[in-house]
């Protein structure tokens, strides 16, 4: 028996804390999207052992913070405590967006995972962070190529923009959605992070939370200049040119000598 769960994407997007409008100075800050995906407890986020501004997070809460590029000891503690039950080190690089998720692994054990948000381009990036079987990602009645069996702890990005009809999550290798997300609108300058978490207590199916983040400014350089002396130039070096000149002179000498004698 298949139970269908219709998740209004607009409603889901409203339920999360909005991404900070400006990404700050991308030259020295990174972005961290924090996901509370472990049902059953209210969580405080610890940064370097101390309680941060992010307290009292409920299952399904998503928060976006900009952090100066640095290495952080992140922890998840029950609300009001500074004793982390989950911990991980997050090296935040400038201009990079990360997901830090507390989620259930396939054994149902809570874990804290660090992922890269692939926001080079607009699109949808699903994350399977639920204690649930492998799934397929479906769009417009077909399995999205490469997303036929996404396992717990896996993610990848679909580069796409505009209206994506009939987005859903199905059983592995199935193009029949079990969780329907409906038509999804992907703005040209945003990446939608789609987190499947849980299931919540008393539920059979994972919950889905969506967080939009801005597409990062292009991080690639224009060129790679790495030499200024010409020592390895593949153009003919001076020595070779000199030898060739010498050769030309040697070839011409007999003729010139002959003319002189006349």
């Amino acid at each position: 028996m298949k139970k269908k769960l219709l998740v209004g994407l607009a409603a889901a997007a409203l339920a999360v804390i909005p991404a900070s409008a400006a990404f700050g100075d991308a030259h020295d800050t990174g972005q961290v999207v924090i996901v509370h995906g472990v049902p059953g407890f209210e969580a405080d986020i610890l940064v370097n052992g101390e309680t941060s501004d992010l307290t009292g997070l409920e299952f399904g809460d998503v928060a976006v913070v900009d952090l100066p590029a640095d290495s952080y000891d992140l922890g998840v503690a029950p609300a009001g405590s500074t004793d982390a039950i989950l911990a991980a080190t997050a090296d935040v690089e400038a201009g990079v967006s990360y997901t830090v998720a507390a989620y259930l692994d396939t054994n149902g054990d809570p874990t804290l995972g660090l992922f890269v948000n692939e926001n080079d381009v607009a699109g949808i990036q699903p994350f399977h962070l639920a204690n649930f079987v492998p799934v397929s990602i479906i769009a417009d009645g077909e399995i999205v190529e490469g997303f036929n069996s996404v396992e717990n702890g896996q993610t990848a990005r679909i580069a796409i923009s505009g209206t994506v009809p009939g987005v859903g999550i199905g059983a592995a290798d199935s193009n029949e959605p079990v969780i329907e997300l409906g038509d999804v609108e992907v703005p040209e300058d945003q990446l939608l992070l789609v987190y499947a978490i849980g299931p919540d207590e008393g539920e059979e199916l994972p919950s889905v939370e969506v967080q939009a983040i801005d597409v990062a400014e292009d991080h690639t350089p224009e060129e790679v200049p790495s030499g200024s002396a010409g020592l390895v130039s593949t153009g003919l070096p001076a020595l070779v040119v000199a030898l060739m000149l010498l050769g030309a002179v040697a070839m011409a000498t007999p003729a010139i000598a002959a003319r002189r004698r006349r």
């Binding site: 993610t155 003919l236 007999p254």
Partner: protein, 257 residues
């Protein structure tokens, strides 16, 4: 000048004129070694920048199974399959590109030192970014190698970690990557990470791109299997701009793969 001397002079001259450049060219390493196509990389003269297309647009391959009716009629089935391979024709085919599935970020520290025994390189690595003009920053000290930090691809994480060093400098002479153009397939590269871990890499290709043709977007990518790109300058030297006209790029993959 007697006749014999004349002939000898002419012969030596001809030998020099033709032999000097021929010998010099013969001593130069080949422009490309290894198979770039296997890496999914363009050859030295790449096509246009594929932009976001990390993998081919869907519908170009792996057409879905034809409807059961068509199974009875092989020709109709072939036609149906042919239809779906044309990305433009079916109304139901979405255009998108995908990146490979990956898991949580492996715990890998920043690169701190690079060693390439075959060309005698053992150099410290500095994280670098972009110059104001948009070019990749290269450590001023030509004995040091720059690791491109924006994008955060550490050697061993998904995507291509880019390490660049000077081939030479007008004031300092030979740079750490002076002999990069002599690396060959299966040569070894080791990276010592900031936490002391060592990762070993195997050269799979070397090539040379014109500065205008270098596939920047393919090289500086955060997607795909872990890869190293070692870059320096090469090709003909333009003395007026004090710059080389090409980039020598060596690609390496984890030694176990």
């Amino acid at each position: 000048m007697d006749r014999r001397t004349s002939i000898a002079s002419f012969a030596v001259g001809a030998a020099l004129l033709l032999g000097a450049p021929a010998t010099w060219y013969a001593l130069q390493p080949a422009d490309t070694v290894g198979d770039l196509e296997v890496l999914g990389l363009p050859e030295a003269t790449p096509a246009e920048d594929p932009g976001v297309a990390d993998t081919p647009i869907t519908g170009l391959d792996a057409p879905p199974a034809p409807p059961t009716d068509d199974l009875l009629d092989p020709e109709a089935a072939r036609d149906a399959a042919a239809d779906t391979t044309d990305a433009a024709s079916p109304a139901t085919s979405l255009e998108y590109a995908t990146t490979p599935l990956s898991g949580a970020l492996p715990d890998i520290a920043r690169p701190a030192r690079i060693s390439v025994p075959r060309i005698g390189v053992d150099a410290p690595i500095d994280p670098v970014g972009r110059e104001p003009d948009g070019a990749m920053e290269i450590p001023h000290d030509i004995r040091r190698i720059g690791w491109y930090e924006p994008g955060g691809v550490r050697p061993g994480r998904n995507g291509t970690a880019v390490l660049s060093g000077h081939v030479d400098s007008r004031s300092q002479g030979r740079g750490a990557f002076y002999d990069l153009r002599r690396l060959d397939v299966d040569d070894e590269v080791t990276i010592t990470h900031a936490d002391g871990d060592v990762s070993t890499w195997r050269v799979v290709a070397r090539t040379s791109y014109g500065k205008a043709e270098i596939p920047i977007a393919d090289i500086f990518t955060r997607s795909g299997a872990p890869r190293l790109a070692l870059i320096t300058c090469g090709g003909a030297f333009d003395a007026s701009t004090r710059s080389y006209q090409e980039n020598v790029v060596v690609y390496a993959v984890p030694a176990g793969s």
